[in-house]
Symmetry: C2
Subunit: 342 residues, 2 copies
């Protein structure tokens, strides 16, 4: 028996992934890309199939005291669709592994599936299989999504070149602030159950947290404009963490400008209210499910007037120099806090 005990916390999530990845090598020619991108790439003739898995657990990932089951079902699908979008592909199928305890009624499970169905309809995805089982503890949802794209249109995170333009869709930090609002209201409710939560002011942020959208609209628009990004990733752990993934995988440096990072005005105000730095929320907040991608400078003309795509900086040759130019025009190193799960 091995007597050594190494704590998981000492490795962290990405350390653990690297450790696993090193032990496995591909045996099948059809396994084109394995662990390490938003989705795996599998050969399917003229097309590539993209496969991604996400697991959501009650407790670490959601709190049923304020997350409606219908929204949870929607979100569980949307976050997987977002991984397929990040490969520049179209989602087509999902399978669902679901563990539920008998504290849930059939009606509750119907609510969950009505959200799953709404997302399937929105994204044109078919539920093709799954496994439903009992859980002694909390609810667990594990979704695998399968997408498809012509082989030459699949976009990895490892193919950015120096001097590409860094683009991000939508706005950042709102989902994180939505979570702060929900957690605060929960505490208020626990202290005084008579108190009615006033969420109206925070509606946008709460919506971003509870029912995120996968940016398939952007994937379709890029295709219409005949643009294939040079690299792409979705913003699930926070902008900074995703920028580091592109930097490491592509071997390029990152330079972004604070004043270009899109932050919703209500989110900005709410950050101040919570005594949080708005840019930190945008850089490290996570769960925005926007798309972060790089384009060749020659594609800029085609996108420059897009109302929902923001040009936040550019790549350069030195992969060890990942920096942000602040509003005060000082250069600070980017820090990826990401999320420590352990």
């Amino acid at each position: 028996m091995n007597e050594t005990r190494t704590e998981l916390a000492s490795l962290g999530e990405f350390g653990l992934i690297n450790r696993i990845q090193k032990q496995f090598s591909a045996q099948n020619l059809t396994s084109v890309i394995g662990i390490g991108d938003d989705a795996a790439v599998i050969d399917a003739g003229a097309d590539a199939l993209l496969v991604t898995t996400d697991m959501l657990l009650e407790g670490p990932h959601f709190d049923l005291s304020y997350v409606p089951l219908k929204h949870l079902g929607y979100k569980a699908v949307a976050v997987n669709v977002s991984d397929i979008a990040a490969m520049n592909a179209k989602p087509e199928q999902i399978t669902i592994g679901l563990a539920i305890s008998n504290r849930f009624s059939v009606e509750a499970i119907d609510e969950l599936y009505s959200g799953i169905k709404a997302a399937c309809d929105d994204y044109g995805v078919d539920l093709v299989g799954g496994d439903t089982t009992s859980s002694a503890a909390g609810l667990v949802i594990s979704i695998t999504a399968i997408g498809r794209a012509p082989k030459d249109k699949v976009v990895l995170r490892s193919t950015a070149k120096a001097n590409d333009i860094i683009c991000v869709t939508g706005d950042l930090g709102s989902a994180y602030l939505g979570l702060q609002v929900l957690e605060r209201e929960k505490q208020v409710f626990l202290t005084n159950p008579e108190m009615q939560p006033d969420l109206e002011k925070y509606e946008y942020m709460v919506g971003r947290q509870l029912k995120p959208s996968a940016r398939m609209d952007v994937v379709h628009e890029l295709a219409e404009k005949n643009i294939v990004p040079t690299s792409m990733i979705d913003v699930s752990d926070g902008l900074a963490s995703e920028l580091f993934h592109i930097s490491r995988a592509s071997g390029v440096g990152i330079k972004i400008f604070e004043d270009k990072v899109p932050i919703d005005s209500m989110a900005f105000e709410t950050a101040i209210e919570f005594k949080l730095d708005p840019i930190t929320c945008a850089l490290n907040g996570g769960e925005d499910y926007e798309l972060l991608f790089t384009i060749k400078p020659s594609d800029f003309e085609k996108l420059k007037n897009h109302p929902d795509i923001h040009f936040i900086g550019h790549t350069h040759n030195d992969a060890n120099q990942n920096v942000m130019v602040t509003k005060q025009e000082t250069i600070v190193p980017l820090k990826a806090q990401g999320w420590r799960h352990f």
Copy 2:
């Protein structure tokens, strides 16, 4: 809000699956077969891709007080490979969703992955992706397997014809008896920790429970002999339950003969020791992961001398008559107890 509360137990696992299935219809032409077989079938040009998901939870599915993590990793892969085998296909990729708490060390996770890797090597499968997250409660493993077969070789459970011969591989009931032995030894240990368990006599059964094999060998042999079964399913919930699946899906009746159902001699003795009826263990025990399939009578000659394939009966026209002829030559209706998860 819906005021009605219907208990999950009143629906059962298959009732819940039917309820979900009715709400979803395919939107993509590439979704060839959805919910309701061992795996979904997805169009991939000349080939079909098969996709299946299984979720294993600490508590309902395994007890870490007697299941070594390495065996658990192996089994989690093997049960998914078995679903691919049941479609007459070859497994090629898996993704793993894993939820772990910090009570597990890095060394423990290495043990789990060493079992996963051993199974990947045995079955020629590539680990291409996954999601690792924290769990407040027990260990959860959700595996999705992707397999491949030429389109005309995929075998469903819905295509048996009347007068086909019913075949089953290996032997049945041993995995269930292995579980009884392990549970008994656990109780003995809890009562008297000084007592050393004597498992030698039960080694085969315990091995069947802890480290089942997917019968890819049989899939390859059938291909070599140019036999495509008329229907196929793997024995995960028990022979009777699987026979009912074939009966319902194919619209055929089942007639099997008790004296043809393969039961290992030590398993037979152990059943008696546990005051269990050996044939009940074989019919309802589950977790054998053998293949149950039907063949055209004209294929019988090619298989009749196979040492590990047993011909246990035949199908007929009346889908409401699913019976077993006992050793005493009386005809009794088959009963599928399966497993009630809720």
